[in-house]
């Protein structure tokens, strides 16, 4: 049986392989990395009825063009992007079959920032320190490029044609924040102004952090340039020297000397990562207990994703090639792990 792979024919500028990341190396200065929108990773896993630990292709702003070496199951999640297979439009937030040799095209994000292409069996690039997640800031892995042949793991399921309703997170909104060790360095007045200011995610945002653009005076702390470097976690809202907040993302540094006014709670991090250009964001301080309740509800919602998945309604008007679709369906349900045998 030949190796299964996805041939990359075109790639947007910021396409990487991501999984749940590489926790445990904070003391060595290596942040976790992993999908910028962890919820999208879980959604893709639910749509393919496979483990959420498998790696997917993360596409920032722009998708790419791909050709499969074998029949493969795919799922699309995160920022909605226009997608088709050989010209037949694909529903986002759904799983589909990508036949061997067919060309999958994924365009620009129509809302949000990070789109995800999941593969049945997961992307099977080599694991580094226990994860396949690229961490470009740290020099782990690299961006996916034109000409790459991304290895795909052995298929373990046959679910396809499933969809779900994603939690809304592509248009900005409220970000819940808990106090952090440096919150008290900011006056009550500054914190109140911080909570009442509308921010937009700066277009220069990347996987390290998102600069929050706003109108108004800088947000200053006492002794801003003199504080000792302390531990940093994703979600920390770092106030740089010019008084502009940066929300730190999965490839952030692990320590830093800029004061942090607070930390966005993990359930709201997909909203930070996915806020599209111009989407308004607000910060609101909540108590630790409220944060723990929100985390519990978030975990319950993620655990319930698999139950919320339903069959994609097949509108014949949107399926110009109904016959081939059914044919493909038949191939998949035959549980043949490698329908194309030793070709390629």
């Amino acid at each position: 049986m030949s190796a299964r792979y996805l041939h990359v024919l075109e790639a947007g500028p910021s396409m990487t392989v991501q999984d749940a990341g590489r926790p445990g190396y904070l003391g060595e200065g290596l942040s976790r990395s992993g999908a910028a929108d962890a919820l999208a990773l879980a959604e893709g896993a639910a749509l393919l009825r496979q483990g959420a630990d498998l790696a997917a292709v993360e596409m920032a702003g722009m998708g790419g063009t791909f050709r499969a070496s074998h029949d493969m199951r795919i799922a699309l999640s995160g920022a909605p992007m226009r997608a088709d297979v050989d010209g037949a439009r694909l529903t986002w937030n759904a799983s589909h079959l990508l036949p061997a040799g067919a060309v999958l095209r994924i365009g620009a994000a129509e809302a949000g920032t990070y789109g995800y292409l999941h593969l049945g069996g997961g992307v099977a690039t080599p694991s580094v320190l226990g994860s396949r997640a690229a961490h470009l800031a740290a020099g782990v892995g690299r961006a996916v490029k034109v000409g790459d042949e991304l290895p795909v793991g052995d298929e373990t399921g046959d679910a396809v044609g499933l969809t779900l309703d994603p939690a809304p997170r592509f248009g900005g909104g409220e970000l819940r924040v808990t106090e952090s060790m440096q919150t008290a360095l900011f006056s009550e007045q500054t914190r109140a102004r911080f909570e009442s200011t509308d921010f937009t995610r700066d277009a220069r945002a990347n996987r390290m952090g998102a600069r929050m653009a706003f109108d108004g005076a800088p947000f200053a702390a006492e002794g801003q340039l003199a504080i000792l470097s302390e531990v940093i976690v994703p979600g920390d809202i770092q106030m740089t020297g010019d008084g502009t907040p940066f929300v730190l993302l999965p490839e952030c540094q692990t320590t830093g000397g800029y004061p942090r006014i607070g930390t966005v709670i993990p359930p709201d991090m997909p909203r930070v990562a996915q806020a599209g250009p111009g989407a308004a964001l607000r910060f609101r301080f909540i108590s630790q207990n409220e944060g723990v309740d929100a985390l519990r509800r978030h975990r319950d919602a993620v655990a319930a994703l698999a139950r919320g998945v339903r069959a994609l309604s097949r509108d014949p008007a949107q399926m110009p090639d109904l016959l081939s679709y059914q044919l493909i369906d038949g191939v998949v349900s035959a549980h043949d792990p490698d329908p194309k045998g030793d070709q390629e």
């Binding site: 926790p23 445990g24 190396y25 904070l26 003391g27 060595e28 200065g29 290596l30 580094v128 320190l129 800031a137 740290a138 020099g139 782990v140 808990t178 106090e179 952090s180 060790m181 340039l225 003199a226 000792l228 470097s229 302390e230 531990v231 976690v233 979600g235 920390d236 020297g241 540094q253 692990t254 320590t255 830093g256 000397g257 930390t263 709670i265 993990p266 630790q288 944060g291 723990v292 985390l295 519990r296 975990r299």
Partner: protein
């Protein structure tokens, strides 16, 4: 000073973290306390704790608040703090000294003259002082394997720049606030770029990806650009010509 007023202190770091802070300013004792406390946390291995680390004068616990409540963790941390004098703890064992070749100044360390002036020294004096110093790795952080080393003599307490230098290369030697860093990767920084090494702090492909550990010591051997080039050409390990000896 052994135990600064109001310390040690427990502080939240986001929803799923707590820092145990031993001082608001850097000191030898507070750094040792943080390293020893982290070792204690590793040994205790409480249910719900997912990761421990240190920064300059703090230990850090990442935990799952759905399995270990904030109150329960804080209570355990306080008990552990009370159990011994952490400021008097020993340094970790298995420490090494890395003597690292480095070009100081020239276009490879464009802010060297500026930094020397900030420290009130001539360039020759600054070079002599930096090569004679043997700063300790106080913590690894910011970027993978990247050492914060110190402390240099008090006149090296020069502030970070307000304007970031957009890109300082991997292996760069930078200085601020009585500390030296060798950068793990190309990075923007407010620290002054004073030299260049061929040392790679992080080698993801190696058996030991992280070269340095907290407690290790470094020193600099001044070289010229030609020697740096020669070291790079022959280096297969990523250690950039560093000589390594075990010290404890």
């Amino acid at each position: 000073m052994s135990r600064p007023e109001g310390f040690p202190k427990i502080a939240p770091v986001g929803l799923c973290g707590m820092a145990i802070r031993f001082s608001a300013s850097l000191s030898e004792q507070a750094n040792r306390a943080a390293l020893a406390f982290r070792a204690g946390l590793e040994k205790a291995a409480w249910y719900g704790v997912e990761e421990v680390s240190t920064s300059l004068t703090s230990a850090f616990v990442r935990f799952d608040p759905l399995h270990l409540s904030h109150d329960a963790l804080a209570a355990r941390l306080r008990d552990m703090l009370d159990a011994q004098d952490w400021y008097g703890a020993d340094l970790p064992g298995g420490r090494k000294h890395f003597r690292i070749p480095c070009v100081l100044g020239t276009e490879l360390g464009p802010q060297f003259g500026d930094a020397a002036a900030e420290a009130g020294l001539s360039e020759a004096q600054a070079r002599d002082e930096l090569c004679a110093a043997r700063p300790r790795v106080l913590t690894i952080g910011f970027a993978p394997g990247q050492p914060y080393t110190g402390e240099l003599p008090a006149h090296w307490n020069i502030p970070r720049l307000k304007e970031l230098t957009p890109k300082v290369p991997q292996g760069a030697l930078v200085v601020a606030i009585r500390q030296l860093i060798i950068f793990a990767n190309d990075t923007p920084t407010g620290w002054r770029h004073i030299g260049q090494t061929a040392f790679r702090c992080f080698r993801p492909e190696a058996d030991e990806p992280f070269a340095l550990r907290p407690g290790d010591e470094i020193s600099l051997r001044a070289i010229d650009a030609e020697e740096l080039h020669a070291i790079r050409a022959r280096d297969r390990t990523g250690l950039g010509g560093a000589e390594i000896e075990v010290i404890a």
